[in-house]
């Protein structure tokens, strides 16, 4: 492999590397804006559907429009859309964005297309915090809103995995990282399950949250999640072109002095942040982080500079449609959104597993 000299000039010339094309993908740069436009339209449609569909109250798009223009506080439909549906749609979208982006970053950093956010047990770290808190076993946090408790739980778990896996060292052993995550995951899952059993009568309420749920989303959730999502997104974008380089091989990255450790630190921090955000507002949603990056890579190629925004939009769309489905399946009863993503995602994962080339 050729080793270009390490200086700013070569960094810039590397930036001009065209979109990496894989054999079999015929993505030309002309289609990209069109694809983004289509995806954005899909997102909007999903959002609108999520706002008004499948309600016992016969909400219409017109109601949605009126909420923006001519909000009438005495109109039930307007109130429902504005106080119940809107935060719910926003939370679903943001959780989807966070998880999808986290998945993309994980797959980029570990260079394993089948890495997923649920692998590290961060979701269950939040779950443990949630369970302990709702059972009254954490007396010192009763004043805090539950979403914050979950967030802190997730952050602590993420940091634990980070250090236990030795990601702070210069020479990391990827197996050690995953082992740390898996072991911690086992422990947390067991603990949470034990608490669910003990909760007995409260068991199903905890369970509902554990499978991923946006039914009772509130604006406080949106307020909490928004800044962190932006931060995570920005960080992801910041390291996106470096992730492209990483895809060429770790040794190449080292020789370019492109700061492998930096990428891992920033990327790791972003991943933890994104997952913590999603999990605290919607519970551990499975499969979104695994599947969405795959589909997006198929559609738009492997350039992370494009993938980061694309995956974000796609993750949001998926969750919005899942939200619609979660009401549609058993109308007028609500199913937890995580069940829908699991029922769609798991077979798709199986399909992927049987098709995947050795990459």
């Amino acid at each position: 492999m050729i080793s270009p000299p390490i200086d700013n000039h070569s960094e810039q010339s590397l930036r001009r590397i065209p979109v990496i094309k894989e054999a079999g993908f015929s993505v030309s740069s002309m289609f990209v804006p069109i694809q983004f436009a289509i995806l954005f339209a899909v997102l909007v449609v999903g959002f609108l559907l999520s706002l008004v569909s499948y309600s016992s109250f016969n909400l219409t798009l017109n109601d949605g429009w009126q909420v923006l223009l001519n909000f009438d506080t005495n109109n039930i439909n307007h109130q429902i859309i504005s106080t119940l549906r809107l935060p719910r749609a926003l939370v679903a979208m943001m959780a989807g964005m966070g998880m999808a982006l986290a998945g993309l970053l994980m797959q980029g950093i570990t260079r394993n297309p089948l890495a997923s956010p649920s692998l590290f047990g961060i979701g269950y770290g939040a779950g443990l915090a949630f369970t302990l808190s709702s059972l009254g076993l954490l007396p010192f946090v009763t004043e805090l809103p539950i979403v914050l408790v979950c967030f802190i739980g997730a952050l602590i778990t993420g940091v634990l995995v980070f250090f236990m896996g030795g990601l702070h060292l210069s020479r990391i052993n990827p197996i050690r990282v995953v082992l740390a995550g898996v072991a911690l995951n086992f422990m947390l899952v067991s603990l949470v399950r034990a608490l669910v059993i003990f909760a007995d009568n409260g068991a199903f309420s905890i369970f509902y949250w554990l499978v991923g749920n946006v039914s009772n989303a509130q604006y406080t959730d949106v307020d909490l999640a928004f800044p962190w999502l932006i931060l995570g997104f920005s960080l992801a974008l910041f390291i996106s072109h470096k992730l492209n380089l990483l895809a060429l091989g770790e040794d190449m990255m080292q020789s370019l002095g492109a700061g492998l450790t930096h990428i891992r630190l920033i990327g790791g921090f972003s991943i933890i942040l994104l997952i913590a955000t999603s999990v605290s507002i919607a519970g551990p949603i499975s499969f979104v982080g695994l599947i969405v990056p795959h589909i997006c890579r198929f559609l738009i190629g492997r350039d992370h500079r494009l993938l980061v925004p694309f995956v974000t939009l796609a993750g949001g769309s998926l969750m919005l449609f899942a939200d619609v489905l979660s009401r549609a399946i058993d109308f007028p009863n609500d199913n937890p959104i995580g069940i829908v993503t699991a029922l769609i995602g798991a077979p798709f994962f199986l399909y992927l597993a049987t098709r995947t080339r050795n990459d």
Partner: protein, 296 residues
């Protein structure tokens, strides 16, 4: 009243003298016993209620480690018992150490360990978890029979029905009642198939979700709650902060009939959900009566 008590007492004496072999149908088939059990272990709260009504104290109860899980009105009627652990995994050792001569077990939870329990003592499997009001009465009657107090339990049940009918007369209401449990993350309303729901139906009250005949507990969002629109809303809180606190901030909350009529009340989830039985049902009825009678 006194005459009734004398009648009951004499019936009890007579029936315990002349004890023939008792044979009843339980969840496992036919259960037979030919002596009056003296040391009884109960593996669910509803059985303790039944025993309390018969004036019998169990020697052991699976109370999830806390005797206070059984409501005081029941505890006051029986002697203190030894805990045998949790309801989902009672300690077979602890049960054996008590040397019981009858174990009343929940068919839903203990089916796997039926053989093990049989090694310790004669075991009767009755329905408890997920039971409705009517099903509970059947179990109570069976327990009475097993203890050789068939006449007594029939009398007790008859008295109970009379009291419930009295309550029903006083609680005449066209309004729709709804009970639910809530925590920080959600609300689960108990439909007509749940115990609380079936008690309310017994009292002639209508529920706000009459079409829900499948599931006992239904996860409910604020949107669905507004649609159900109960006239009287009883909330069992698990924890200090619940989602109701959040929903109360929402202007839509005031659209619910129960809120408008100021008929939103907190009730004890332990009573309304965990402890099931005659005593519990009557206390629930009393609370409902108070609620209905309250002037706006």
């Amino acid at each position: 009243m006194f005459l009734n008590k004398m009648a009951a007492l004499s019936l009890m004496l007579v029936s315990s003298l002349v004890f023939a072999k008792v044979s009843i149908q339980d969840e496992m088939g036919t259960f037979e016993i030919d002596t009056v059990p003296q040391r009884i272990v109960a593996l669910e709260f509803s059985f303790v209620d039944a025993l309390a009504n018969l004036g019998v104290s169990p020697v052991g109860v699976a109370d999830d480690g806390k005797a206070t899980n059984v409501i005081p009105q029941i505890r006051n009627k029986v002697q203190p018992w030894t805990s045998v652990g949790s309801r989902y995994q009672p300690s077979l050792e602890a049960i054996a150490a008590l040397k019981p001569d009858l174990i009343i077990a929940d068919g839903g939870r203990s089916a796997e360990t039926y053989q093990e329990l049989l090694k310790i003592a004669p075991t009767v499997m009755l329905k408890s978890r997920g039971e409705t009001y009517e099903e509970n009465l059947i179990s109570v009657a069976k327990i009475g029979e097993i203890l050789g107090k068939k006449e007594l339990i029939n009398q007790v049940i008859k008295d109970h029905h009379k009291r419930m009918d009295d309550f029903a007369e006083n609680i005449v209401s066209e309004q729709r009642f709804q009970f639910g449990v809530t925590n920080e993350k959600g609300l689960w309303i108990h439909g007509p198939k749940s115990y609380a729901g079936s008690v309310m139906e017994r009292l002639g009250l209508s529920t706000s979700v009459p079409d829900e005949r499948e599931n006992a507990y239904i996860a409910t969002t604020l949107e669905q709650l507004i649609k159900a629109n109960p006239d009287v809303f009883l909330i069992g809180k698990y924890g200090d902060k619940t989602i109701i606190d959040v929903w109360q901030e929402n202007p839509l909350w005031n659209l619910i009939e129960a809120v408008k009529n100021k008929k939103v009340t907190e009730v004890e989830p332990l009573l309304w959900s965990k402890n099931r039985g005659l005593i519990a049902a009557e206390i629930m009825a009393k609370e409902l009566e108070i609620m209905v009678k309250q002037v706006k």
